[in-house]
Amino acid sequence: VLPVAEVVFTAVDGSGSSTTFRTYVRSALSHTAALQAAAQLRGRLSAISGCCIVRVDVIYRDPYLVDEVGELQPSALFIFDCGPGQHAQIPVYGLLPDLVDLVDPFIVNVSAPPISAFVDELTSGIWCNPFAYDLQHCIEGIVQIRP
C-alpha cells in the first residue's frame, strides 16, 4: 500500500454544484481512526464554508506493475445471489476466450477452473454486495460486449 491514504471530502454548494477537497493521512492509520479524524475536520470545514459536505472517502491505494496486457472486451458480468431479495453484479473486463461457454458464446463457462476458483473466493465469506449481504453463490456469468 502507498505510504499515505487519501481523504476526500465532497462538497455541494447552493446551486447544486459539487467539488472535492483532498487531504492525506499515513496509511498506517486505521480506517476507523481516519474516519474519526475526518469527522472532526468535516466540522471545522463546515464552520468556514457555506458548502455542505455530503461525502467523505478514505482511500488506501496499492499500485501494481504489469507486463503484457490484452483487450478490455469482452467483459464477463457475474450475477450473485446474496439471500432473499438480494443480488450483486460484478463485471470483469477482458474475459479470456477460453472461458466462454463452447455452446453459447454469451455465457461464461462457470465450470472452468479459473472461473470456479474466482467464484469460490468471492463466496468464501468476506465479500458482500453494496448492502453488506454476503455473496452466496453465482447464478450465472454473462459475456458482454460494449460499444
Partner: protein, 173 residues
Amino acid sequence: MAFVDLPVASVTFTMVDGSGSQGSVSFNIPAATTIADALTAANQLRPLITALTGCGVVAMNITYSSIETTPTGLAADYSRIERKGVFSFRTAAGKSVSYQIPGILDAIVLPDGRIDEDVTEVSAFLVDLVAAPWTDSNGVDLTALTSAFERYRRTSRPMLPSKKTPDANLVAG
C-alpha cells in the same frame, strides 16, 4: 442531518488493456474489515482475476466512506464552489502544499482578500490540519501556514446553476 458510515467498503481493481484503455471492477466487504484483512483478501483475489482476463490489473484501491443522508438544502444560500479559500502550508520537508476550501464564508475574508486566520473557526481548522494525523501527499507533516487568501475559479458549464430561467412575472410584466 445525519452523517453515517456506509455498511460496506469497496475494493476496486483498475485494469488496463493493450490499447491503454482502462476499466475497473469493484467488490464490497463489510466496513468493519480492517485494512490489513482487506489487503489480504484483495491479494488473494487479484491472481484469480488476472487468471480470467487478458487485461493487466494496475492498481487496487480500498475505500471506506461516510455520507450525509439528508443533504438537501444544507448548503448556504449564495455559496459557490468557485469561491475558494486557499491555505498554503510549509511541510517538515521544506516543501509547500496548498488546500482550496470551496464556498469560503464572507465573514472570514478580509477586505483586501486575505483570510483572517484569527477568526476562531479558521484558527480551529488550521490547528486541526497542522496536527496529526494530517500530512501532505508524501506523508510529511504540515508545519506552518504560509498564506491564506480568497480566490475565484472560472465557472465551468457543469457548475452553472441548474435553474437559469427567469420567473413568470418578468415575462408577463
